[in-house]
């Protein structure tokens, strides 16, 4: 039973990390390597707003999520817009900016253990297993995020135009959808999702800049396994990897946690490269 509970909690954090990356890739086809960097930067911004600027916790959380969305806009408008359509340059540019941000956090002095406080202290028993409120909140936020995204990209006008760009950029542009605006919006929302993930998940442990790389790896892994750019696939893959991890940690030990992620990617790439729920584009994706 504890496997079920811990698996769900783990899945919530993986999904929270991955949906932003998935949205950005799905719409703008930009593999945003700066996703993890935005994630950890948001955590530290929240910390700084609270401890240096003296704001109260809820306000600093909201502000830091806003800042993360602005970071996304900045990354796209400042850098990626100029190399759009050149995948190699996109990867290098976003990777460079990711490293720059993470190393800059180290330079500023965020080395050692920092931590944001949890929202609500204490824990509650779920089916006989003690779960602290923060983890419960993370599950709820993850669920809420997925529902919001589902409704957003299927019901709202902006969401529909994002989907249009993702499916056929040229036709959408002929119908008057601004491709750059759509990509900017997707980066803003995707980065804000990374920010939300940060404020919800980072209080669960210590914060250090290196988390940025791990977060990126987790996000990318979930997206690859689920199918790049597919929301349903991301959720499905998040659940699968999370349970696989929890089971592995239970029976083999914590050091294998990272390896599960990696094996999942390998198996998927060998047997179904488009991901669990991704659409196979035979000629274009495979060579």
């Amino acid at each position: 039973m504890d496997i079920l509970i811990y698996g769900l909690i783990n899945a919530a954090s993986l999904i929270l990390l991955a949906v932003g990356f998935s949205l950005i890739y799905g719409v703008s086809r930009v593999a945003n390597f700066a996703h993890g960097a935005v994630y950890i930067a948001t955590g530290f911004i929240a910390w700084a707003l609270m401890n240096k600027a003296g704001l109260n916790y809820p306000l600093s959380i909201v502000l830091s999520v806003v800042v993360s969305a602005l970071l996304g806009v900045g990354i796209y408008q400042g850098l990626l817009i100029r190399v759009r359509g050149m995948p190699a340059s996109e990867i290098i540019a976003s990777f460079a900016i990711a490293m720059g941000m993470i190393e800059a956090l180290k330079v500023v002095g965020f080395v050692g253990s920092y931590g944001n406080p949890v929202f609500v202290r204490g824990s509650v028993e779920v089916l006989g297993i003690p779960v602290d409120y923060q983890r419960l909140i993370s599950v709820l936020v993850a669920f809420g995020t997925v529902v919001f995204l589902y409704v957003f990209i299927r019901r709202t006008k902006i969401g529909l135009s994002l989907r249009g760009i993702a499916q056929d950029e040229r036709s959408s542009m002929m119908l008057g959808i601004n491709s750059d605006l759509a990509a900017t919006i997707s980066l803003a929302i995707g980065s804000a999702l990374a920010g939300i993930a940060a404020v919800v998940l980072l209080p669960l442990g210590n914060m250090y800049p290196g988390i940025g790389y791990e977060a990126l790896i987790y996000a990318v892994a979930v997206c690859i396994v689920g199918g790049l750019g597919s929301l349903g696939g991301t959720v499905f893959a998040g659940l699968m990897i999370a349970f696989a991890q929890v089971i592995t940690v239970r029976f083999l030990g914590g050091q294998w946690r990272m390896l599960v992620i990696f094996l999942a990617i390998l198996v998927i790439l060998v047997f179904k490269p488009s991901g669990l729920l991704g659409r196979q584009k035979e000629l274009e994706e495979r060579v």
Partner: protein, 340 residues
């Protein structure tokens, strides 16, 4: 109307220098002036690589070796990036696998560097290629992601299982005692690989690599297996990268977790992009600018990484051409303003 408005505008015109036009043809050998025009850049490079190390003080000889290592990584990156269309973020992967292969050959089997370095190079290249094999069938970001993730995974495994020296690494590996041999092994290898790979990309196979990058469907329609081609390209690049890793472990007599550090991924990419991707000479130039710079900026610590990342991002976005093509243009062409 638009034409008349623009009448007084000027534009920059670039014209080949006379000597460039003459030396393009068979007349290159007609005068010493033209021969030296052709030979000057190559001689300059050869002198820099093979003669300059003699005059360097000992500390800078070490820096020269490091710059050579980063040059090798940059050349490997550039080869994949510009001629096979694959972005490798995995300098650290090559360094780690190469370094550990040579290290294990040295510590477990007691092989001297004469044997462990070449074996480690080709074996390590093979290991990297096998590791990356699942992503070679796919276009897009998979290759970049795999090369980025592997160093993390491998260092996690080494740390978790405490194999191959675990967290502390393998120390007291057999080294080459003579400093001059160490220095000139790098100088000669670097020269050989530089000219070798420049030749490789203009040979038939290099042309196929490039066409694979331009239009993979046309290549596979010609009955050439792209997976095989990409495997060959990755093997070549991995061998060069693993040589760099193996050489570093021979240089230090030590191999450890820091071989998987991201420095080895970002600095070669920065060197290659700043120097001018696709030219190889640019990679060399970039590495020999950035690595000594790193030594000067040592007091700034992690600040350097931030600087490199920012410079790299700016170059990719604003000046994707790089320094070396700029220099080539200045050497071969002159420019003037003409009335339009």
């Amino acid at each position: 109307m638009a034409i008349s408005e623009n009448k007084s505008e000027r534009r920059l015109e670039r014209i080949d220098r006379g000597i460039k036009a003459r030396t393009d043809g068979i007349y290159a050998l007609l005068s010493w002036r033209e021969i030296s025009y052709l030979m000057a850049p190559r001689t300059f490079l050869l002198m820099g690589l093979l003669v300059l190390p003699v005059f360097l003080p000992e500390v800078w000889q070490r820096v020269f070796c490091l710059a050579g290592i980063y040059s090798l990584l940059a050349i490997a990156f550039d080869f994949l990036f510009s001629y096979a269309g694959m972005v490798s973020l995995g300098g650290a992967l090559w360094m780690g696998v190469g370094g550990y292969t040579v290290g294990i050959l040295g510590s477990e089997f007691g092989l001297p560097p004469v044997f462990s370095l070449p074996i480690g190079t080709f074996l390590g290249g093979g290991i990297c290629t096998v590791l990356l094999l699942p992503t070679l069938r796919l276009k897009g970001i998979y290759f970049a992601i795999a090369t980025f993730i592997y160093p993390f995974i491998i260092s996690h495994i080494i740390e978790a299982l405490q194999i191959a020296g675990g967290t502390f690494g393998l120390a007291d590996l057999p080294v080459i005692e003579n400093g001059w041999v160490v220095l000139y092994v790098m100088a000669v290898l670097l020269t050989g690989i530089f000219f070798g790979i420049r030749r490789l990309v203009i040979e038939d196979v290099g042309m196929v690599f490039r066409s694979m990058m331009e239009n993979d469907q046309a290549v596979s329609a010609s009955g050439i297996s792209i997976t095989v081609l990409r495997t060959i390209a990755v093997y070549i690049a991995s061998c060069i990268g693993c040589l760099a890793g193996g050489y570093l472990s021979v240089l230090y007599g030590w191999v450890g977790m820091s071989f998987f550090a991201l420095d080895f991924s970002i600095l070669p990419i920065a060197a290659s992009v700043i120097g001018g991707p696709g030219t190889f000479a640019g990679s060399l130039l970039g590495a020999f600018i950035l690595v000594p710079l790193t030594e000067f900026l040592r007091p700034f610590g992690p600040m350097r990484m931030v600087g490199y990342s920012v410079i790299l991002a700016l170059f990719v976005v604003l000046k994707p051409e790089g320094i070396f093509p700029y220099l080539t243009r200045k050497y071969n062409q002159f420019q003037r303003w003409v009335e339009v």
